[in-house]
Amino acid sequence: DTAVSQTPKYLVTQMGNDKSIKCEQNLGHDTMYWYKQDSKKFLKIMFSYNNKELIINETVPNRFSPKSPDKAHLNLHINSLELGDSAVYFCASSPGGQGAQPQHFGDGTRLSIL
């Protein structure tokens, strides 16, 4: 009965590689988000999508490309990975439109760049 599920949970890869993180929510929510949590536990929004449309792009490098094939999925593709991309990435969803609360979070994907 997982509400927001992300795969993989851990991702270890070399600098310069391209990788994807998948996210699915079974809550019927209209809005989905990606957040980045750094080593100091600081959480910052990266993107939000409402009904497959991009609403927020928080000045994230264009190496990061979110894709929403349907409103239950928001995947994150990262090109040319850099050391500074190492972090935990969280997907979240919320009912209603952009900004509706509360948001439900997945358990994160820990990305480690070697």
Binding site: K41, F42, A92, G99, Q101
Partner: protein, 113 residues
């Protein structure tokens, strides 16, 4: 509280005591505030929320207080239990403009048995 260097501010309490976690926010136009709990290896989990037109809201064992004059939010946990050990974040949102949730820096709560 504000994080210093690599370390989160930590609040250590005895099991059964009450805990108070504080948060200072910066945007006086924020409309809505939320407390999240994040356990190790998990995503943030909603605890309680409060709208800007309220100054207090109570849930089960938790109370949130909002002081808009000094832009301060607190989370009170009654009869703290070992399962309450986690990192707690306050978050704020303004319902105009981009309407993005902005998180504070987090406080680690350690409950001693």
């Amino acid at each position: 509280g504000e994080s210093v260097g690599l370390h989160l501010p930590t609040l250590s309490v005895q099991e059964g005591d009450n805990s108070i976690i504080n948060c200072a926010y910066s945007n006086s136009a924020s409309d809505y505030f939320i407390w999240y709990k994040q356990e190790s290896g998990k995503g943030p989990q909603f605890i309680i929320d409060i709208r800007s037109n309220m100054d207090k809201r109570q849930g089960q064992r938790v109370t949130v207080l909002l002081n808009k004059t000094v832009k301060h939010l607190s989370l009170q946990i009654a009869a703290t239990q070992p399962g309450d050990s986690a990192v707690y974040f306050c978050a704020e949102i303004r319902y105009t403009g981009r309407r993005a949730l902005t998180f504070g820096s987090g406080t680690r709560l350690q409950v001693q048995p």
